[in-house]
Symmetry: C2
Subunit: 125 residues, 2 copies
DNA sequence: ACCTCCCTTCGATATTCATCTAATAGCGAG
DNA sequence: CTCGCTATTAGATGAATATCGAAGGGAGGT
C-alpha cells in the first residue's frame, strides 16, 4: 500500500479543494482515500486514536488497547494492525512489548483531504 | 442522528487536538465520529464527493451518479442516501428530479476532527 | 528449565453492507 | 389518462469484517 495520498497538493493552482482536484485517475484516488478512511471508520479505532492524540508521544500496547475498549486482546491487536496498515499508527518494540503511537502527519493529511475550499472562480468544464 | 460533532471545539482551551479533547463520554464521541467517517469510507461515495467538491454549487442526480460510478441507479441512490444521512449531502427537489449537493460545513467539520495539533505542554493525566 | 506475560495468528461466527434485479411511486408531457 | 422518465423501495446474495476463544511464539524472571 502506497504511503502517499496523491490527492493532497496544497501548492498546486486549483479550482477548488484537494478532494475536488482534477486528477489523472479520480477513481483510483477515491479508492486510495476510501481505504484510509475505512481504517478509521470504526468506533474502536477512533477511540484508540482519540487516546493517542490526547498528548504528544502517547503510546499504547495491545493489552492496554484491549482494556480501554473492553475487548479481547486478539480484537485489540486486530484494530491496532489495521491502523498500522493504513499508516496512521506506527509500532515501537521494546523487549517483549510493542508500543503503538500516532503518525500525526498521516492523520493530518487524511483530514486535509476533507478541507474543502470551493470558490466561485472555478474553471472546471 | 444528531447534526453536530460535539468533539470539534476550536475555541476551548485544549491540551491537544479536537479528537484528543477530554470529553464526558469519549466512547460516544468515537461512535459519533466513526459513524460519519463510515459514510465516507467507500470508493463510490468518495468519488461522488470528489465530483461535487470540484466546483461550488455542483449538483448531481441519482441517474448521473449511477453513470459516473458505473453502477445501477438503485446502488447510486443508496450511496447518495447514505451521504445524506450523514449530513454530507443535501437534496434539492425540482419537479421529478432530485439534485444532491455538498454540505461544505459538514465535510470541513469532519476533516477538522483529524487535524491533530499536539503540543508538548500537555496537561493530560 | 519452567513459568509468566505479552503479542500474534487461526478458525469460526455473526453482522454489516455494496450490489443487483424487480417492483413501486411521483411527476410531467402529450 | 396513459406513457415515459426519474427516484425510491424491497428482497436476495456475496463479500468484508468485527469479534471471540484457543493456540502458538518470544522474551524475562526465578
Amino acid at each position: 500500500m502506497p504511503r502517499t495520498l496523491p490527492i493532497v497538493n496544497t501548492t498546486a493552482p486549483m479550482c477548488c479543494s484537494p478532494i475536488g482536484e482534477h486528477s489523472e485517475d479520480p477513481a483510483a484516488d477515491a479508492l486510495q482515500i476510501a481505504t484510509r478512511l475505512k481504517a478509521l471508520a470504526d468506533p474502536s479505532r477512533v477511540r484508540i486514536v482519540q487516546e493517542l492524540a490526547c498528548c504528544e508521544g502517547h503510546e499504547m500496547t495491545t493489552t492496554e488497547a484491549g482494556a480501554l475498549l473492553g475487548v479481547s486482546e486478539a480484537t485489540a491487536n486486530h484494530h491496532l494492525k489495521r491502523l498500522q496498515q493504513a499508516g496512521i499508527l506506527a509500532p515501537r518494540r521494546d523487549a517483549q512489548k510493542v508500543y503503538y503511537h500516532l503518525d500525526l502527519g498521516a492523520l493530518r493529511q487524511l483530514g486535509a483531504v476533507l478541507q474543502v475550499r470551493c470558490s466561485a472562480n472555478c474553471h472546471c468544464s
